[in-house]
């Protein structure tokens, strides 16, 4: 059995740092780490920190893993500069504040952790900031839709219908293709309750507040009734009904639904 199949349900957490780092990336990681330490440990706004920060900001766009956005509608340099500015400035001045916050929130130890773990953590954090700046620009440019399909970046989807008001017709046509849709079969099963499982499931001394009645009014009715109204109608304590519905009926209905599905499949 291979490791991959295990990792589907198991997560292996390696606390040590991998030594299999390519040379070029290794050098970049060390350089990044040294500049990061310089920025964090220098006094905010000091000449020393400004030097470290300038070199760091020059290095970041070339770091392995930095997100590149290719769209002729957008000048990539603009969101990149905005992202770099947002991480290097605090209260209007050059500061290591955001880097210190990153180190703290990621529970990194700048003095004792391996230099190689800082770049990947930074990249993930920075790319999200950069992408948020990109979406800001799309929004500013007049609500141009941002297409985010990673698997098929060049292929935009075409809705099968043009407008919201056509959904009913589409759904009706689709439902007519199926003899009895599974949703209808399931509703019928619950409405019939031939074994009386749902009708017999009710709070003590409140036989009228059984699961079938509640399912009809809370799941099948559109819009659903409010629990408080049902409690009043059925002359049941609101708290009792709420608890019965959530703790007994819903798990029972989900269990019935799941079993019903498997019976259908098999």
């Amino acid at each position: 059995m291979d490791t991959e199949s295990v990792c589907v349900s198991w997560v292996i957490l390696e606390k040590s740092t991998s030594s299999l780092v390519k040379m070029s990336t290794e050098n970049q990681d060390v350089q990044f780490y040294q500049l990061l330490v310089g920025v964090i440990k220098s006094a905010d706004g000091s000449r020393e920190q400004i030097n470290f920060m300038n070199n760091l900001l020059k290095l970041i766009p070339n770091l392995k893993g930095i997100y590149k956005h290719y769209d002729s509608c957008i000048d990539y340099q603009e969101p990149l500069n905005l992202a770099l500015t947002s991480i290097s400035i605090y209260n209007g001045n050059i500061s290591g504040y955001h880097f210190r916050k990153l180190i703290y929130s990621r529970q990194l130890d700048i003095d004792n952790d391996s230099p190689y773990i800082f770049r990947p953590k930074f990249i993930k954090w920075f790319n999200r900031i950069l992408k948020n700046k990109i979406t800001d620009i799309y929004r500013r440019q007049g609500n141009q839709p941002l297409f985010l399909d990673l698997d098929n970046p060049g292929v935009q989807g075409k809705p099968l219908i043009e407008t919201l008001s056509e959904i009913d017709k589409l759904v009706r046509e689709e439902q007519e293709k199926v003899n009895v849709p599974i949703g209808r079969q399931l509703w019928n099963y619950i409405e019939e309750d031939s074994e009386g499982i749902l009708r017999n499931c009710h709070p003590k001394n409140c036989s009228q507040a059984h699961c079938q009645e509640l399912a009809k009014r809370l799941l099948f009715k559109n819009p659903p009734d409010k629990l408080t109204h049902i409690a009043r109608d059925l002359n049941v304590n609101n708290q009792t009904l709420n608890s019965h519905w959530k703790r007994t009926c819903l798990p029972l209905l989900r269990s019935i639904a799941k079993q019903f599905g498997y019976r259908q499949d098999n």
């Binding site: 349900s9 929130s105 948020n132 589409l170 759904v171 849709p181 949703g183 509703w187 799941l219 559109n222």
Partner: protein, 332 residues
């Protein structure tokens, strides 16, 4: 009708798969109204999924309740699973609506507990795009009202920061789960029928351990007439150049309709004995249920018993050797 917008909304185009699945899922429903609800829920989940993937979050759209044909037929669900983090509920907003409507009455409390927030997905009359309007974090499901005003939503930038923190927190606390292993489903006999990649990792014990060692597991189901299922999986933990291979064997024994005993064993696969200091722990929210540690050499296997678990209860199993950890989450 005019649309309510947030100044930070993000317009998103969907792919053909989204439209196609939405139509298919809607066609399975009992009524046109229910079909429309499912259609919009599916598109909303796809829109959020594509955005979060772009933001480099791991998602698993197929693991949500809304992907289960039976559950979506009886519930108003639009959940997106972020493995190790939780579920985001993607709520459609129609033209003219100024609030997002929450469906608090169709999920049991234990299922609400893994919801980490709501994200509003706005539809306009034209269906060629949707707008991600904003986000509302959810810390305590019991406190959720029935609706949230769109004007009170937080920005998606705040959401990515929030999710990023949760992602890091789950990693740092060794609490990263891909998904649950549903043990009740094993008892329902579906392991051999359902095309589920999780269960493919769980094989008959003799396939993993060989015939001789399989005898050990007989203890797990001896002595009563209750039904049981036993499966095993292989776990490899690597520490620098050393690879430790283990078989984790899990026996689920149904004592009654609402009581299950779980027996867990760990065996070495690439050596005769378990490595010294190997820790084997089962725990749930209340604390440690059972634990063992290989404190002496020549320990051939270790066993944990989780007694009288109830359906829908969860527990985790941790295997740790020299700081390398594997964690699995089990749903009884």
């Amino acid at each position: 009708m005019s649309s309510i917008d947030t100044f930070f909304s993000i317009p998103v185009k969907l792919n053909n798969q989204a439209y196609s699945d939405a139509k298919k899922f809607a066609g399975e429903q009992a009524t046109v109204e229910k079909g429309k609800q499912v259609y919009l829920n599916t598109l909303a989940v796809y829109a959020v999924d594509s955005y979060l993937k772009w933001m480099d979050f791991e998602t698993d759209i197929t693991q949500g309740d809304c992907w289960n044909p039976r559950i979506r037929a009886i519930s108003d669900v639009a959940d997106l699973v972020l493995p190790g983090i939780g579920k985001l509920e993607c709520r459609p907003v129609l033209p003219g609506e100024t609030t997002i409507h929450l469906p608090p009455d169709n999920l049991p409390p234990e299922l609400m507990s893994d919801r980490i927030g709501y994200i509003a997905v706005q539809f306009e009359e034209k269906l060629d795009k949707v707008n991600l309007l904003g986000f509302c974090p959810l810390d305590n499901s019991e406190d959720t009202g029935e609706e949230i005003k769109i004007s009170e939503l937080k920005s998606l930038e705040e959401m990515t920061e929030y999710l990023g923190d949760l992602e890091e927190k789950s990693l740092s606390q060794d609490r990263l789960y891909q998904m649950s292993v549903n043990l009740s489903q094993w008892l329902e006999g579906i392991i051999d029928n359902i095309d589920n990649h999780i269960d493919k990792a769980w094989k008959p014990v003799e396939e993993i351990l060989g015939i001789n060692k399989t005898q050990l597991m007989l203890t797990a189901r001896r002595g009563d007439n209750s039904s049981s299922v036993i499966r095993a999986t292989e776990i490899n933990l690597q520490r620098e150049d050393i690879v430790y291979s283990f078989a984790l064997v899990v026996a689920v024994i149904s004592k009654s309709s609402d009581k299950r005993d779980i027996c867990l064993q760990i065996h070495p696969l690439n050596q005769a004995y378990l490595p010294l200091n190997l820790k084997f722990v089962a725990s749930n929210e209340s604390g440690i249920l059972a634990q063992e540690e290989a404190k002496h050499r020549k320990r051939e296997w270790m066993q944990l018993n989780v007694k009288e678990g109830k359906p829908q209860e969860e527990f985790t199993v941790k295997i740790e050797i020299d700081g390398v950890i594997a964690i699995g989450k089990f749903l009884i």
